[in-house]
């Protein structure tokens, strides 16, 4: 019985692990950097940052739910927005600066528009993986 209680106590992630996860989400690569995993931080952060910047450079579109749209089509914006949100501060900075949220036909007509969208989505999704990795390392579940 005591062993079972000990195992349950081990399963509870420490607050530091949550902090590392949040740091990894807010600033891609930071979760690993704070734990001294410099090489991993550069590789993972570089991949996410590279994807995000390349996506914007190719004219990709960042998704968000606008309050003015009351139709059910607004639900279609939710999954890509969740993917985009994975980029953390990059998404928020782009939102504050108004980069990538424009909905004009000229932008959408670019040959690389869909590529840009994909890169922006992938940047967020990859950062979710990086965030979980930083969490697991801090919780002692990974080396």
């Amino acid at each position: 019985m005591a062993n079972v209680d000990n195992e349950r106590a081990d399963d509870v992630a420490p607050a530091k692990a949550w902090l590392m996860g949040v740091a990894g989400w807010v600033f891609p690569g930071l979760g690993h950097l704070l734990q001294g995993k410099v090489g991993r931080a550069l590789l993972l952060g570089g991949a996410v940052w590279g994807c995000f910047i390349a996506g914007l450079w190719m004219g990709g579109h960042l998704f968000f739910i606008s309050g003015g749209d009351q139709s059910s089509s607004v639900l279609l914006q939710v999954p890509p927005m969740i993917a985009n949100l994975g980029a953390g501060l990059l998404y928020i900075a782009a939102w504050v600066l108004g980069i990538g949220f424009a909905d004009d036909p000229v932008h959408a007509a670019r040959a690389t528009y869909e590529y840009g969208n994909t890169f922006l989505l992938i940047a967020g999704l990859l950062n979710y993986l990086c965030m979980l990795d930083a969490f697991d390392i801090s919780a002692g579940r990974k080396s």
């Binding site: 590789l43 993972l44 991949a47 996410v48 994807c51 992938i122 993986l129 979980l132 990795d133």
Partner: protein
């Protein structure tokens, strides 16, 4: 050519993250990352040719 370069850039980014996150030793990471990279390229090219012949 540009399409292929973009696909390659995508494969590199995904392979780096998958390789680093999925395996524990540096050697395993390198092999797994290379495997994912090649798989992305090969499957992308095969799908490209398959879709090319579809009439719709």
């Amino acid at each position: 050519m540009r399409h292929f370069l973009v696909m390659t850039a995508f494969a590199v980014a995904a392979a780096v993250v998958f390789g680093v996150v999925a395996k524990d030793s540096p050697r395993d990471r390198l092999y797994y990352g290379l495997k994912v990279f090649v798989e992305f390229l090969v499957i992308g090219l095969v799908l490209g040719w398959v879709l090319y012949f579809l009439p719709f």
